[in-house]
């Protein structure tokens, strides 16, 4: 059964290995250059006081490969679900070869477990390898970036790609099993996977751990903007802060009154179109405003990674269990 599974999976495995190898070469060539560039620009910029320019220039380096990497990491698990998962059973049922396989001297439980196990492990291995390469290659960029918890970076690093892959693969197999046609099953896999991943990122991930809620006197160092709003420009006034919490994932940051309600003005005397920013800042500093920041600190990156990976793996296991149940009872 292992030989047959490998023989059927070979073509897909070769394509994926080829793509991984190409990426590996690209990373191997450009990775050391990126490290060198970091050492010569960003690492030395503090001495020359032009860090923001240096960082901007550095981040713009290898833009093509950066974008490609992001695309591969987002699309990779979906592709695995579509091209490895969906056809696994759907194609056999479509052309009837499952009746050939199931009437050899092998139970269909064994047939399915070997198929699921082998291709599932391959999916996870491919994603793990990809993530490892990307994490290594991006490390100089990550040192000046938004941090690993930023939603666009989080899904491309560490171990979550393994969970996504396992889930997408199991999802593809399940869709193929229920739909019996490869192409519609691929489409459903893509749609459901995208929906689950997006929904998870937007609605679930932040709440995996209770966030830190920082309430303190307004830190003038964090104030990055002030402005008037409302009708005629003087009914309301806002103070915007950008908390300096490196790598943290901030969900809300707002300025409140001493009583705790959101600060909305009125425009204090000393602020507005006729005054300088420093004059206005001096006024704001005397107003006893407070700040509320809700965030997940950067140190929780690996905890989040483990939680999310475990959840996706659990979903994959549930789907695989469903497939086993379905194949044993329903298909003929």
């Amino acid at each position: 059964m292992i030989w047959l599974t490998w023989r059927q999976f070979r073509a897909q495995a070769v394509v994926a290995s080829g793509a991984l190898a190409l990426l590996a070469v690209a990373f191997a060539v450009t990775g050391p250059q990126l490290v060198h560039l970091y050492d010569t620009t960003v690492a030395t910029c503090r001495a020359q006081h032009n860090c923001s320019i240096a960082i901007n220039a550095f981040q713009g380096e290898d833009n093509f490969l950066q974008n490609l990497t992001r695309l591969v990491m987002v699309a990779g698990p979906a592709l695995i679900g579509m091209f490895w998962g969906a056809p696994l059973i759907a194609h056999e049922v479509e052309v009837g070869t499952h009746r050939l396989a199931w009437t050899q001297s092998v139970t269909r439980l064994r047939w399915l477990t070997v198929k699921l196990g082998l291709a599932g492990l391959a999916s996870m291995a491919a994603a793990g390898l990809l993530s490892l390469m990307v994490t290594w290659w991006s490390s100089p960029l990550d040192r000046v970036g938004a941090g690993w918890l930023a939603p666009s970076v989080f899904i491309d690093r560490g171990i979550v790609p393994v969970g996504y892959s396992a889930f997408a693969f199991a999802l593809g197999v399940t869709a193929g099993l229920l739909i019996h046609h490869t192409v519609p099953a691929m489409a459903v896999t893509l749609a459901v996977f995208a929906a689950v991943e997006t929904g998870f990122a937007l609605k679930v991930r932040f709440h995996l751990m209770p966030p830190v809620r920082l309430v303190s006197a307004l830190n003038m160092g964090w104030v990055t903007e002030t402005g008037t709003g409302g009708l005629a420009g003087h009914t309301s006034f806002f103070v915007g802060i950008t908390p300096n919490l490196p790598g943290a994932w901030i969900s809300t940051s707002e300025v409140t009154t001493a009583a705790g309600s959101t600060y909305l003005g009125p425009v204090p005397h000393g602020c507005g179109a006729n005054y300088t920013y420093s004059a206005c800042a001096a006024v704001i500093a005397r107003m006893h405003l407070r700040q509320v920041v809700v965030y997940q600190p950067a140190s929780r990156f690996w905890t989040f990674q483990w939680y999310e990976t475990a959840i996706y793996l659990a979903l994959a296991v549930v789907l695989a269990g469903f497939c086993v149940w379905w194949v044993r009872r329903r298909v003929s």
Binding site: M1, R7, S105
Partner: protein
């Protein structure tokens, strides 16, 4: 003789439609069994129940003394070729044999290779490039080389041209004689089976109409021709299977164990094709239940 296939009140329902109902059979070993019926009669359903691809809704089925699909050991004792003889189009002929060797403990590699050679199949050829007849032969090779005691073939010759049909049945019969395996094969055309079957099952409208040894069926069915009369007035032991009338003449197909004494009838022998057609043309719910049926 022991039974290769025993069914008792066997039924299978898909949603609200019964594909097979109230099927009771007892097929002895060492026979070539033909399963005949129009398309959609339930032949495939019965065969899939026998190999364990389906589970019955009602009743029981035993194949070689076990309920299918019991375990790998039982699977090894039954060879199966599904309708249209599915094979892996992307694999070569040799890889199919390798697949058979990997998945079947009783695999006879020598026989499989010999058979492929005799058929003139190139081992390195991709199966997707073979003709329909060659694919059917390959599927049959896979099923035979696992050394089964029972071989189940679902419409094996339906898609073959007459020459491939003859070759296929010839190859099948050689294997049957060589290895003494029992065979169940289905077709919607009795002509396909006439030359090879010892035992016949007629399945119409999800019900078994009649089942028995071909010789016995031929000796208990008669074609009666005579002056026009009402078939209901026949003796008790004569069951009318089909009747047709002209103004002056009546033609009946009748089943009876005893002789026919009425001098008004001209009794002639019936051939298998007419016998099957008589059952097929009967409304599905007409007539008595088949002789073998057991009331539950």
């Amino acid at each position: 003789m022991t039974a290769v296939l025993k069914a008792q009140g066997l039924g299978k329902r898909y949603r609200r439609r019964w594909a097979l109902s109230d099927c009771t059979l007892d097929i002895p070993a060492g026979q070539v069994v033909g399963l005949v019926g129009p398309n959609g009669a339930g032949k495939t359903t019965l065969l899939h129940l026998a190999i364990g691809l389906l589970q019955p809704t009602t009743g029981q089925i035993e194949v070689l003394g076990d309920r299918p699909p019991a375990n790998p050991a039982q699977l090894a004792r039954v060879g199966f070729v599904a309708q249209n003889a599915p094979t892996y189009g992307g694999l070569t002929v040799a890889e199919h044999l390798r697949l058979g060797a990997h998945l079947n403990p009783g695999w006879d590699a020598v026989m499989a290779r010999d058979r492929i050679e005799r058929l003139g199949l190139e081992p390195r050829q991709r199966v997707g490039k073979l003709s329909v007849g060659q694919r059917a032969q390959l599927a049959l090779t896979l099923a035979i080389a696992k050394k089964p005691e029972l071989l189940i073939l679902d419409e094996p010759v339906a898609s073959l041209d007459p020459l491939a049909r003859r070759d296929f049945l010839q190859g099948l019969m050689e294997a049957v004689v060589d290895q003494g395996i029992s065979v169940v094969l289905s077709s919607h055309l009795v002509a396909d089976l006439e030359r090879v079957c010892d035992y016949l099952i007629v399945l119409v409208g999800s019900r078994v109409q009649i089942a028995g040894q071909v010789e016995h069926l031929l000796s208990t069915h008669h074609l009666l021709t005579g002056p026009r009369r009402d078939p209901a007035r026949l003796p008790e032991d004569q069951h009318v299977i089909s009747a047709s009338h002209t103004d002056r003449q009546t033609t009946l197909t009748v089943r009876t164990e005893g002789p026919i004494h009425d001098p008004a009838w001209t009794v002639s022998k019936i051939d298998l094709e007419d016998l099957v057609l008589a059952y097929m043309s009967r409304p599905a719910d007409a007539g008595r239940r088949p002789a073998l049926e057991v009331q539950r």
